[in-house]
C-alpha cells in the first residue's frame, strides 16, 4: 500500500515535505525574522552553489577528488581583492554602474586568472593521478598547501578587509523586513550562473558531450572525443566558478584570508554529496538546503548550526545514497 502511494504520489509528497520543512522554522521564529533569515539563507546557498558546482562537475566528469578547490576559491578572492584595491575609486563611487563595473571586472579577471591556475594544476599534477582517489586526495591536498602558502607570500599572511562597493552597502526595508542589498545581488548571481551552466549543458554540443562524459567516459572517447582536452576545459571552468565564488563570498564576509578556502570546501563537499555527484541542479538544491538550514538553526540553536548540515547529509545519504539528483537524472 505504502509502496503504491509512494509510486503514485511520491513527487507530490516530496514537494509537500520540502515545503513543510521549509516552513517548519516558523514555529520558533517570528515571521519577519524568518523572512530575513530566508533571504540570508538563500544568499549563502547561492554563494556556496558557486563553489560546489565546479567541484561537482569536476568530480562527476573526471572522478577527481579535488581538495585544491578551496585554495582556488581563495585565490579568486585575493585576485578580486587586488582588483578592488586597484580600482578603489570605482568601489567607493556613489554610482551603481561603477560599482557593478568594478565587481564585474574583478569577477572576470579572477575567473580568468584562476582558470589558468586550474589548467596548470590539472596538466602538471592532477593528470598523473587519474583513477586513483587516494593519490588525488594526497596530491591535491599538497597543492592546497602550496597555493595557500603562495597567497601568504604574495599578499601576506594576515586577514585583509574586503571593501563592499558603495551602493551594495546597507539594507532595504520592505514592509519592515530587513533585506540586505548585497544578499539580493548574491541570489541574482547564483541564479544567473545556474541558468548559464544549464543552458550550456543542455543546448550546446560541448555541454552534451560533458553530460555524456559524466555517464560514460570510455564511450565518449570511443566516439572520437578527446576526453583529456575536455577534462582540462572542465577543470578550468570548475576553477573559474570557484574564483567567482571566492570574489562574491569575500564581499559577503567582508574579508579575505589565506585559509578561507578550507572553511568553504567542507560546505562544498557536503553540498555535492547531498545533491549528487556531477549534477548542477543537485548542487543548487544542496546549496540552498545547506544555506537555509544553517541560518535557521543558527538562529534557533546557535551551537548546532555547523553540525546541522552534517546531520542533513547523513539523513539524505541513508534515504538516497546517490544524492538527491544522481548524474543522468
Amino acid at each position: 500500500m505504502a509502496e503504491i502511494i509512494l509510486r503514485r504520489w511520491g513527487g507530490e509528497l516530496a514537494i509537500a515535505g520540502a515545503i513543510a520543512l521549509f516552513l517548519l522554522p516558523l514555529l520558533g521564529i517570528p515571521g519577519k525574522t524568518y523572512l530575513t533569515l530566508t533571504i540570508a539563507g538563500l544568499a549563502m546557498g547561492m554563494l556556496l552553489f558557486l563553489v560546489a558546482s565546479g567541484l561537482s562537475i569536476i568530480f562527476g566528469l573526471m572522478d577527481v577528488l579535488n581538495f585544491a578547490h578551496g585554495s582556488l576559491f581563495a585565490w579568486g578572492a585575493y585576485v578580486g581583492f587586488t582588483v578592488f584595491n586597484l580600482m578603489m575609486d570605482w568601489v567607493e563611487a556613489d554610482s551603481v554602474l561603477m560599482n557593478l563595473g568594478v565587481f564585474a571586472i574583478a569577477i572576470v579577471i579572477a575567473m580568468i586568472a584562476v582558470a589558468i591556475l586550474g589548467i596548470i594544476l590539472e596538466r602538471v599534477i592532477v593528470r598523473r593521478v587519474y583513477g586513483n582517489h587516494l593519490f588525488q586526495i594526497l596530491i591535491t591536498f599538497g597543492a592546497t598547501i602550496v597555493l595557500v602558502e603562495l597567497i601568504s607570500v604574495f599578499w601576506g599572511p594576515n586577514d585583509e578587509v574586503m571593501t563592499v562597493p558603495f551602493t551594495f552597502r546597507g539594507n532595504w526595508d520592505v514592509m519592515d523586513v530587513i533585506v540586505d542589498r548585497y544578499r539580493v545581488i548574491c541570489i541574482v548571481i547564483g541564479l544567473l550562473v545556474y541558468s548559464v551552466i544549464k543552458l550550456i549543458l543542455k543546448k550546446t554540443k560541448i555541454g552534451t558531450i560533458v553530460r555524456a562524459g559524466v555517464e560514460n567516459r570510455e564511450m565518449v572517447q570511443a566516439m572520437g572525443h578527446n576526453i583529456f582536452l575536455l577534462f582540462t576545459g572542465v577543470f578550468a571552468v570548475g576553477a573559474g566558478l570557484a574564483a567567482l565564488g571566492g570574489v562574491a563570498m569575500s564581499v559577503f564576509s567582508l574579508q579575505v584570508y589565506p585559509h578561507m578556502g578550507s572553511t568553504y570546501l567542507l560546505f562544498a563537499f557536503i553540498i555535492v554529496i547531498i545533491g549528487g555527484l556531477g549534477s548542477v541542479t543537485g548542487s543548487l538544491v544542496g546549496a540552498l538546503i545547506v544555506g537555509l538550514s544553517y541560518n535557521y538553526v543558527a538562529y534557533l540553536v546557535p551551537w548546532a548550526a555547523a553540525g546541522s548540515n552534517v546531520i542533513i547529509m547523513i539523513v539524505i545519504l541513508l534515504v538516497r545514497p546517490t544524492g538527491l539528483f544522481p548524474s543522468g537524472e
Binding site: K205, R211, M219, Q221, A222, M223, G224, H225, N226, G328
Partner: protein
C-alpha cells in the same frame, strides 16, 4: 583475401595482473564480415577493446589500413574511421536519442546529415523516440541506437561486441538484417557467442581460446564442422 583493412599481429594484453591476450593475430579483409567466436573468457571482447585503444597492448602491432594504431588514443582511432559498439551498448541513458546521436556526430556537415537520414530510415524506432531519454528505450532499441551512433560518421570499420546478448529472438532477427545492410558500406568485426547469429552474418571466422587464435577459416565451412564447434564452442549436434 581482398585488401587487408585491419591486421593484428602477436598482440598481448593484460587486464591488471591477468594476461588475457597471449599473442593474438588475425586479419580482416575489405569485403567481409569477420566474426570472433569462442567461449566466455576466451579474449574476444578484450581483442576488440584493444583494437579500439581502450586497453593498451603490452606487445604486438595493430595496423589499420597500413598504419600502426596500437599506441594511439581511442579518440584518435575513432577519428580514423573505426566505430565501436560495446557489449553493454554504452548508451547515454540520461541523454535523449537525439543528444546521443549528436554526441556521436563528429562533423555536422551535409554528408553526415544524409547518413543520419539513412540511419534513421533503417532504425525507424529511433525517429519515433527522438526526444525520449535513451534510458527509457527497450533493450533492442538501445542496441539499435548504439549501432546507429557508430555508423552515423564515415566509418570504414565497425567493431560490434555481442549485439544479440540479452535480446529476444525476433530482435536478433532484425539485427541480422541490419548488419547485413551495414556490411555494404562498412567492414564489420563481430564478437558473438550466439552461433546462429554469427553464422547468419559472418563470412570469415576466428575461434579464440585462452587468448590466442586456435582456428580460422570461412564461416560456411565451420557451420558443417561439428567437431570444431563441439571442441571450441561447446555446440553439439542434437542426438549426435
Amino acid at each position: 583475401m581482398s585488401e587487408t583493412v585491419l591486421k593484428v599481429e602477436g598482440v598481448h594484453t593484460f587486464i591488471g595482473q591477468h594476461h588475457i591476450l597471449q599473442g593474438i593475430s588475425f586479419e580482416v579483409g575489405a569485403d567481409a564480415v569477420t566474426v570472433l567466436i569462442g567461449r566466455n573468457g576466451a579474449g574476444k571482447s578484450t581483442a576488440i577493446k584493444t583494437v579500439m585503444g581502450l586497453l593498451p597492448p603490452s606487445e604486438g602491432r595493430i595496423l589499420f589500413r597500413g598504419k600502426e594504431i596500437q599506441r594511439r588514443k581511442p579518440y584518435e582511432i575513432a577519428r580514423m574511421g573505426i566505430g565501436f559498439v560495446p557489449e553493454d551498448m554504452g548508451v547515454f541513458s540520461g541523454l535523449t536519442v537525439e543528444e546521443n546521436m549528436r554526441v556521436a556526430m563528429l562533423i555536422e556537415d551535409e554528408a553526415t546529415y544524409q547518413r543520419l537520414d539513412r540511419t534513421l530510415e533503417m532504425f525507424a524506432d529511433l525517429r519515433k523516440f527522438w526526444k525520449a531519454k535513451a534510458g527509457n528505450l527497450s533493450g533492442g532499441q538501445k542496441q539499435m541506437l548504439a549501432i546507429a551512433r557508430a555508423i552515423v560518421n564515415d566509418t570504414s570499420l565497425l567493431l560490434i561486441d555481442e549485439p544479440s546478448k540479452g535480446l529476444a529472438p525476433i530482435i536478433v532477427e532484425s539485427l541480422i538484417e541490419v548488419i547485413n545492410r551495414i556490411k555494404d558500406h562498412s567492414v564489420v568485426i563481430l564478437v558473438e557467442q550466439n552461433f546462429s547469429m554469427a553464422s547468419s552474418v559472418g563470412d570469415n571466422f576466428y575461434i579464440l581460446d585462452d587468448g590466442i587464435v586456435v582456428h580460422s577459416g570461412i564461416m560456411a565451412e565451420l557451420v558443417h564442422d561439428e567437431e570444431l564447434k563441439s571442441n571450441y564452442l561447446g555446440i553439439s549436434k542434437v542426438g549426435g
